[in-house]
Symmetry: C2
Subunit: 243 residues, 2 copies
């Protein structure tokens, strides 16, 4: 077990949870997270879904009143987000959602590529079983056929997260998660429709096949090209003025 930091487990289905649709948990252990974590999760989701845009001010007193808690857990939550690299503080002036610069976006995608290449190398070296990767692949294909972009993106994330997991490297996973938060945010902001859905779905199976065949060079080349292409983007589409 790691520390208490959460992992943004469920990016989908958010406020649709009513009082009716959750099955009776019986007497299963009741999970209680510190307030700061719950708060951090909420704000984080607001940021990575684009509801809180880069540059938006986060005022402790306002958030405290809004969520009906004191400032202390709000402060701590924001500090968590600061460590995530999503929030920026200027002493005695304010905290705000960190503005995205073109450079940061590029660096983020480059880092992601390095992480995924590292994962692929490890998977090949260690001979891990990659058959589980087929499931998200199929889901992507279905979503692509149905033209359901949201489901496809969700399946894509599952694919890549699973790929990282298969590398069996906790530090890599943590680093990738941290990076992927920002990727989430970027995708939410730029809402890019250029690449056809079917293409995205079609990119993944060859990777799995190469991994399965233990063809390290090919697998690295494929994942490298795949993640690199994601970094090509329209610079003006998202970025606010740096200052």
């Amino acid at each position: 077990m790691f520390t208490e930091h959460t992992t943004l487990s469920d990016p989908v289905s958010d406020q649709m949870t009513q009082a009716l649709d959750h099955a009776d948990p019986g007497l299963a252990p009741i999970e209680q997270m510190p307030l700061r974590v719950q708060i951090a999760d909420r704000i984080r989701r607001a940021i990575v879904t684009g509801r809180l845009r880069p540059g938006a001010a986060l005022v402790e007193t306002a958030l405290a009143e809004q969520m009906n808690v004191s400032r202390a857990p709000i402060r701590e939550a924001i500090q968590i987000l600061e460590a995530d690299g999503l929030v920026e503080t200027e002493a005695y002036k304010g905290k705000r959602v960190k503005p995205l610069t073109v450079r940061e976006v590029a660096e983020t995608y480059e880092m992601r590529q390095v992480y995924e290449v590292m994962a692929v190398r490890r998977i090949v070296e260690r001979g891990a079983d990659v058959s589980a990767l087929w499931q998200p692949c199929h889901q992507m294909a279905e979503a692509g056929a149905a033209g359901d972009r949201v489901s496809l993106v969700a399946a894509d994330e599952r694919f890549h997260r699973l790929l990282i997991r298969l590398a069996d490297h906790d530090l890599l996973l943590a680093s990738w998660n941290s990076i992927y938060l920002r990727i989430h945010q970027i995708m939410a902001l730029r809402n890019d429709r250029r690449v056809p859905l079917a293409d995205i779905a079609a990119n993944h199976p060859p990777i799995v096949r190469a991994l399965d065949a233990r063809d390290g060079e090919l697998a690295v080349a494929l994942i490298s090209e795949h993640t690199r292409s994601l970094g090509d983007f329209d610079p003006a589409s998202i970025v606010e003025a740096p200052a």
Copy 2:
């Protein structure tokens, strides 16, 4: 400018600063860091120098009294260290210096290798000027000849940090810094005397030469072997029982 997080700027010369030996700063801008940052720096240094060993309890009230501040900045400082991955929290039970497992140590060094390889690749691709790397090289040679292990390790860190800087990639630098904190800690704890000083010093110039010659393959191979060898260590030398 980044946020306010510090960078453990000066690992050496700590408490030797008396009231006399600092030159008159004139009317230069007086730097004031939030208490949490000063506190975090102190505790961080204590951890990475091994003065606070893995598993050691960090009790907020005790630290608050000891440093003569309230618990609030202590809490926030500890939270920073938690984000650094140096401290671990268990709700309502306590905070302690995160125990080091064999696996974590191995993963840390593997991650460092990936980062440095990435840096070398970027340096070669971008044709950065690497002549500045000679200075720490020479310092290492001198320290090696004088048998001064401390100076040599310090110069070694300068070499590698500069190498990362030359890659001109902020996110890489931040990630490397985070990793290197733990490396600091590990080195402080295991105090390993196996590798001869001269060998360490001798390993670096070939890397600079390869970079200078834009021989990417050779440079990657050299840095890869260099950082990999550091990860080979005596497992029993540092690790406490995981639980």
